[in-house]
């Protein structure tokens, strides 16, 4: 019987700075006709400081992940970086070579690991997880690390200058937030924990519904054009069927069984997806109680969103050891994914690390 893949460690870093939706909207030359905060529920999001970039977010997350892990960098056989953001220097510098993974090898001893970047929009960390599961099952590696540093609020800064219509394709840029996340995966011989099932695929017919590139305007920077209505229609509709088919007739169709973490784009999108899944299954798979909503204070953290949500809700005590998580993944592409996961004692280890960090912060302040 194939062994389950388990998250051995998790590390998340969010920069200290905060940027409210009100500040962002107030700074737009042309204000959106829609109340972004009302539509998405996003009140504020973490924002990088001046001189802080995607690589810094990734590096801090990796550092935390190793602090919680029993492993050292040289124990990692495969390193995959999934950040969409390659914003790594002044004047909108975006690096193409070397890869982010190779850049991180300057800080951590990944010299004997397989390393590469695998950006795949907001589904990046999950599709990397799906790929790592194959490397582990094929016996190619013993453990792998998936990393993402998303410095995305640069999109919002460009959008403030470029939004020219009250209903503009750059409006979604006003929802993003900055964060870094990293996790280590390995196999477990305990069939009660880890990923019991997972699936991922791309409905590429809709690949042009959300496009991120560089700005052609004289001010430079990066832009993202989104047809929010179309992408939500397809992603939510297909997620309902994808999740529904995976859980129907199993213990996972009972909302009491698990926490539900989907991509964090907005509170209304989460609510609509929840209803669509429940309608498809004919039972309450996702309830208000079991749905993790992390977008209000974090914004849309793109590829990091699911794992920042997991981290935050472990740290606030909502998610505990040995509980179950139903991951649902949606991104431009359009990528769809589902993962059925049972936690081991990771939450206890994250909490233990948090308490230690608090004690050290108090000592430093004295």
């Amino acid at each position: 019987m194939a062994l389950n893949t388990v998250i051995e460690s998790l590390g998340v870093y969010t920069p200290e700075g905060r940027l409210s939706t009100k500040e962002l909207v107030d700074g737009c030359k042309v204000k959106p006709i829609i109340d972004i905060e009302d539509l998405t529920g996003i009140k504020t999001r973490p924002v990088v400081a001046d001189g802080e970039y995607a690589i810094d977010l990734a590096r801090e997350a990796v550092t935390r992940c190793f602090e919680i892990s029993k492993y050292q960098p040289e124990d990692i056989d495969l390193v995959i970086c999934t950040n969409i953001s390659r914003y790594n220097g002044p004047n909108w510098k975006a690096g193409f070579e070397p890869s982010t993974a190779a850049m991180l090898a300057r800080y951590f001893d990944f010299s004997n690991a397989i390393i590469f970047d695998e950006p795949n929009a907001c589904a990046g960390m999950f599709t990397a997880l799906y790929i790592v599961d194959a490397y582990l099952k094929a016996g190619f590696v013993k453990r792998a690390m998936v990393i993402s540093g998303e410095a995305l609020t640069c999109l919002a800064r460009t959008a403030q200058k470029e939004i020219s219509a009250p209903f503009d394709p750059q409006m979604a840029c006003l929802t993003v937030g900055d964060a870094g996340a990293a996790f280590i995966l390995e196999q477990t011989d305990n069939p009660a924990v880890g990923f019991h099932d997972m699936d991922a695929f791309t409905v590429a017919h809709h690949c042009d519904y959300c496009i991120g590139t560089f700005s052609k305007e004289p001010h430079g920077g990066f832009v993202m054009y989104t047809d929010s209505i179309k992408i939500h229609q397809v992603a939510i509709g297909m997620t309902a069927e994808h999740v529904g088919r995976m859980v129907k007739g199993t213990k996972w169709e009972n909302s009491e069984n698990h926490h539900y973490i989907m991509h964090q784009t907005g509170t209304r999108a989460i609510k609509t997806t929840r209803k669509s899944i429940n309608d498809w299954v004919g039972k309450e798979v996702c309830s208000e109680k079991n749905s993790i909503v992390n977008v209000i204070e974090r914004g849309n953290g793109a590829s990091t969103a699911h794992f920042v949500a997991l981290w935050d809700h472990i740290r606030n005590g909502a998610i505990k050891s040995n509980e179950n998580i139903l991951f649902a993944v949606q991104s431009s592409g359009i990528n769809l994914g589902v993962g059925l996961y049972s936690l081991d004692d990771l939450p206890e280890r994250v909490m233990s690390w948090s308490r230690m960090e608090q004690r050290e912060a108090i000592k430093e302040a004295m």
Partner: protein, 296 residues
């Protein structure tokens, strides 16, 4: 079970008539799929390894455009039946070898039947007017990988080593230059020697870990950077020049198309005997060395 090359498609952009990365990709991938033993429905994974592609899209994956363009399970309305995952690997000129290993893992783990790897690096000259020239030949390449149940043929023993202390030798980035975004390539004038230094250390480590010698291989497939680079690599490894596969052309190195182009040449011209082995030695920014064995 060995993971083998089922089909290769190449498109040389000799007169530079093809202006987009997606078009380069299509011209290589369509014949690759057509001449393979598989239908589009069988392709469970599409991996684009192009670092330099149209408009430097960072979202969605370039491979999703490729999947849509080639109509590979692209218009699903539910999760039933054949489906395809598309994703990009960005890792300089190491991407193609990384993708071959990824397909091998996905096929071995039983997640897919066949995987398509595509490469179509193309620099948009209108935003790359400063810095060093990109120095690679824009070309499209596609390789379809699948499993071979009988015999021990196919890819084996992938090993990668990174030398971060040499990283500054090779860099590219977009940045805002006064009133527009521009792409910069920075290459140390001695970058080929730096690659060779890494090859020396990386290949020694590979041979030690696999407990093999260079005599165990019938041919060596190096990165197709330049004829001079390949000659120097033969000298460093202490092997005869004839053992090195060299299909370098005027106009720049083959970058991510090196491996598929070299393999295509071997299948067409060397006509390898079953059981013959090739050692693949790939170099890339990072600085990285990747080695793998392909048994014919």
């Amino acid at each position: 079970m060995g993971i083998t090359i089922n089909s290769i498609g190449l498109y040389e952009n000799k007169n530079k008539s093809v202006k987009t990365s997606l078009e380069l990709c299509r011209r290589a991938a369509e014949p690759c799929i057509k001449h393979s033993a598989y239908s589009k429905e069988d392709i469970g994974l599409v991996v684009s390894v192009a670092v330099y592609r149209d408009d430097y899209f960072c979202e969605p994956s370039f491979s999703s455009f490729v999947q849509n363009d080639l109509k590979i399970n692209h218009d699903k309305t539910d999760s039933l039946g054949p489906k395809t995952l598309s994703l990009d690997i960005l890792n300089g000129a190491m991407g193609f070898l990384n993708a071959c290993q990824m397909c091998s893992a996905m096929i071995t783990a039983g997640k897919i039947k066949a995987g398509l790897v595509v490469s179509s690096d193309l620099v948009n000259g209108s935003i790359s007017e400063k810095g060093d020239p990109p120095e690679f030949l824009p070309s499209g390449a596609a390789m379809l990988l699948s499993s071979e149940k009988n015999g021990g043929s196919g890819f084996k023993a992938f090993r990668f080593k990174t030398f971060p202390e040499m990283q500054d030798a090779c860099e590219s980035y977009l940045f805002h230059d006064k009133d527009h975004m521009t792409m910069i390539f920075k290459r140390d004038p001695a970058v080929e020697d730096i690659y060779l230094k890494a090859v020396s250390a990386g290949v020694s480590k590979f041979l030690e870990r696999e407990a093999v010698g260079l005599d165990d291989f019938d041919m060596i497939i190096p990165s197709q950077i330049s004829s001079g680079f390949i000659t120097k690599m033969a000298d460093i490894l202490g092997v005869k020049r004839e053992k090195m596969i060299d299909i370098t052309r005027e106009g720049g190195n083959l970058f991510n198309a090196s491996l598929p182009a070299a393999m295509d040449h071997i299948f067409k011209h060397n006509k390898p005997e079953p059981g013959q082995k090739a050692l693949i030695i790939n170099v890339a920014s990072g600085i990285q060395v990747g080695c793998a064995v392909y048994q014919f």
